[in-house]
């Protein structure tokens, strides 16, 4: 190599090193990724914007929102974390795949419960795909599906992989029952966001998931105001029932195929019973889901209970004869004999779709059943005492 060549290569090397140094310096001055902004932030000042829900937390720093989703079976385990911002500034150096620019313009929603939140937030136009269309009752969505503006990506438990790739939604909201199993659509490598509202055992916590939805579409303020209204109404009813001294006993659900799946003592429904001034017979149980019991266990404990709560649907409405036709043993319950069944027709009342965002009405319905004098003239929406 000539002297000249040596000088050139040396100077090239020096330039390369200084460029590298410059780059690494500038990154040190700033941060490596969006995630570090949160890691460097004093922990004490980070307060979650979700106050009732156990399944997620939202933190905000410098116009970036960090969304943490927990494993519903173990709230200490973080399932996924997303960083959302509508500011273009951060995209210059974002490095994490969990970084999302909001508002998202297309989403596939795999649960009718979640669609209700979209409807309330006026962002149904962002929904490009749904699943299990035949079970959806929301008229707006039914119409959009009929006119072909919405596509179905799953039906009867099967996911349509190729159609999903074709529709190519930015994100997918899905509700997995089993996190250990890989989702059938995971191979598409689309951003799939687990949505665990149904695992939330606090009625207000379940309703709070509207904030979760809103986050992706820049509708935070709307969601906050909707949620605050729900909380206010709920607490007002709860306050009303808290004064009651006489708490009627209540049990729940039905016997099916040798098992009675009874709601646990920390379940969604147990908390509603408690807040409505009722004495739920399994309130001391620690379970947040449901427990399967022998008929005789339920009978032994609940045969003298005042009320019996059932959710379901009958072709031409509920009747005691139809209930008895399912099992003769039901006639031995006092709540049956005294005609104190509290029934919610899940189909007619769209309980599973709209109930989540109306916990205050569920509560009021129960109060009206258990303590009718507290809410005179009230018109129940979901639960009715069947005469």
């Amino acid at each position: 190599m000539t002297e000249k060549g040596k000088i050139v290569s040396w100077s090239l090397l020096i330039i390369l090193i200084s460029v590298f140094q410059f780059v690494s310096c500038s990154r040190k001055n700033n941060t490596d990724s969006v995630a570090e902004i949160f890691d460097n932030y004093p922990e004490k000042e980070l307060v979650s914007l979700a106050s009732y829900a156990d399944g997620f937390d939202i933190y905000e720093v410098d116009n970036i929102k960090k969304l943490v989703i927990y494993n519903p079976r173990n709230n200490n385990e973080i399932l996924s974390t997303y960083y959302l911002t509508d500011s273009a500034y951060y995209s210059n150096y974002q490095t994490s795949p969990e970084y999302l620019r909001t508002p998202i313009d297309s989403v596939a929603v795999f649960s009718a419960t979640q669609l209700n939140a979209f409807s309330k937030l006026n962002i149904l136009n962002k929904v490009c795909a749904i699943s299990e269309s035949e079970y959806i009752q929301n008229p707006e969505i039914k119409e959009l599906y009929k006119t072909g503006q919405l596509v179905e990506l799953a039906g009867n438990g099967n996911f349509y992989l190729e159609r999903t790739l074709e529709v190519n939604p930015k994100i997918i909201f899905y509700s997995p029952y089993n996190m250990a199993q890989k989702h059938p659509l995971a191979v598409t490598e689309l951003t799939m966001i687990p949505f665990f509202d149904f695992m939330e055992s606090n009625p207000l916590g379940r309703a709070e998931w509207i904030k979760f939805t809103a986050l992706f579409f820049g509708k935070d303020n709307e969601a906050n105001s909707i949620f605050d209204t729900i909380v206010n109404k709920y607490n007002k009813y709860k306050e009303l029932a808290s004064s009651t001294v006489n708490k009627p006993t209540v049990f729940s659900d039905k016997y099916y195929s040798g098992q009675w799946f009874v709601s646990g003592g920390n379940s969604y429904i147990a908390q509603l019973f408690n807040d409505a001034g009722a004495n739920y017979l399994w309130k001391d149980n620690q379970n947040t889901g449901s427990i399967n019991l022998d008929f005789e266990v339920v009978y032994n404990k609940a045969h003298n209970a005042d009320y019996w709560r059932i959710v379901g649907t009958y072709p031409d409405g509920f009747s005691y004869e139809k209930l008895l036709a399912e099992n003769d043993l039901y006639s031995n319950f006092r709540a049956f004999k005294d005609r104190k069944v509290v029934f919610c027709d899940s189909k007619k009342s769209t309980y599973f779709e709209t109930g989540t965002l109306e916990p205050h009405l569920l509560l009021a319905d129960f109060i009206y059943v258990f303590h009718p004098n507290l809410l005179e003239g009230y018109k129940p929406k979901y639960y009715h005492l069947c005469k």
């Binding site: 438990g157 099916y256 195929s257 040798g258 019991l293 005789e296 266990v297 649907t313 031995n332």
Partner: protein, 346 residues
């Protein structure tokens, strides 16, 4: 053949064992009830509104009666099928009859959901009675196909193979339906498949028992032709029996018993196949004059015993009966067969 003394001892001990297990089934459960309450209830001395009275009379009693009846029915059908087809592997599940019952239930619970045929949006609302009808219809359908085939084909082995094929076919159809059903419907279907003796009312259970006993008495009339069949179809023909007719009768009887049991309790595995083997090994005979009553007794003991075991101590729910019959029964059969071998060798 074992001595006469042993045989009569067997027929004394087993009825006593049945009575004992029956009472144990009434006394023991998730809810603690004292012996005195059990006896009071049985003598109709107790207060009718007392919880223990209703639990014993309306829950545990029908459960025990159903367990016993289904045990008897499945065991008899197993014996009849094994003799008819001259095959030790024949049993309720082999002829595709319990698969037929599954098909009926699957159409009701699974397909109903996806085709919108379902009577209601919530499958738990269907109630157990609708499922019973569906299971019975499915089982009878397969039964009719098999009887039709056996009318055309005289050969027992061919009928057996066709039965197995129908079973596979039906299982594949059910599997496909499962694939296309929602998780909720699947759950209901799986619950049914696990089996349960506690889905019958007292009246239903007594009816099942009476029907089963009538069929058992009816089948006692066929001891001679059964023994003849055991020595081969040709022997039976030469003894003056109409083999084709007999085959049809035996398939009909066993099919009816299987359909009855499966409809009310779900497919209970194992009993029908195992009990005839246990009876043959204990009594060391193939004479149906002894085998038929022995199978009735052993079947009742086994199902009552399994029902007792399924009620785990200190646990508020029962194990699925189908799991218990297999877990408890399979080792028993293996033990009995090995022991029988050793005795015959030594």
């Amino acid at each position: 053949m074992i001595s006469r003394k042993h045989t009569s001892l067997f027929f004394v001990i087993l009825p006593l064992l049945i009575v004992f297990l029956f009472l144990i089934n009434l006394w023991y459960g998730s809810v603690n009830i004292s012996w005195i309450d059990v006896l009071d209830t049985l003598m109709l001395n107790s207060n009718q509104n007392q919880a223990s009275h209703i639990i014993i009379l309306q829950y545990r009693l029908p459960q025990a009666i159903t367990a016993m009846s289904v045990g008897i029915g499945l065991s008899i059908s197993g014996l009849l099928l094994q003799t008819t087809f001259n095959n030790p592997l024949a049993g309720p599940s082999v002829l595709g009859i319990s698969a037929g019952a599954s098909l009926g239930v699957a159409i009701m619970v699974l397909l109903g959901g996806s085709m919108g045929l379902k009577l209601s949006g919530n499958l738990y609302m269907l109630g157990d009675m609708a499922v019973v009808v569906a299971a019975f219809a499915g089982a009878l359908l397969v039964l009719l196909i098999i009887i039709f085939v056996s009318g055309k084909v005289g050969n027992a082995v061919t009928i057996l193979i066709i039965g197995i094929m129908i079973g596979y076919l039906v299982s594949a159809i059910v599997g496909t339906m499962q694939f296309f059903s929602s998780s909720e419907d699947l759950h209901a279907f799986i619950l049914w498949g696990l089996g349960s003796f506690s889905k019958t009312s007292l009246i239903q259970s007594i009816s099942i028992l009476i029907v089963t006993l009538v069929v058992v008495i009816l089948s006692m009339l066929f001891v001679k032709p059964l023994n003849a069949l055991l020595l081969g179809q040709q022997y039976a023909v030469s003894s003056g029996f109409n083999v084709k007719f007999l085959q049809t009768i035996f398939i009909l009887i066993s099919g009816f018993l299987i359909a009855l049991g499966t409809a009310f309790t779900g497919p209970i595995a194992f009993i029908g196949l195992a009990v005839p083997h246990i009876a043959r090994t204990i009594l060391r005979t193939s004479n149906h004059r002894l085998l038929l009553p022995a199978v009735v007794l052993i079947g009742a003991v086994l199902t009552l015993g399994c029902n007792f075991i399924s009620k785990l101590p200190g646990y508020d729910a029962s194990l699925p009966i189908n799991a218990v019959t297999s877990i408890v029964g399979a080792p028993i059969v293996i033990w009995v067969i090995i022991k029988g071998r050793r005795m015959s060798n030594g």
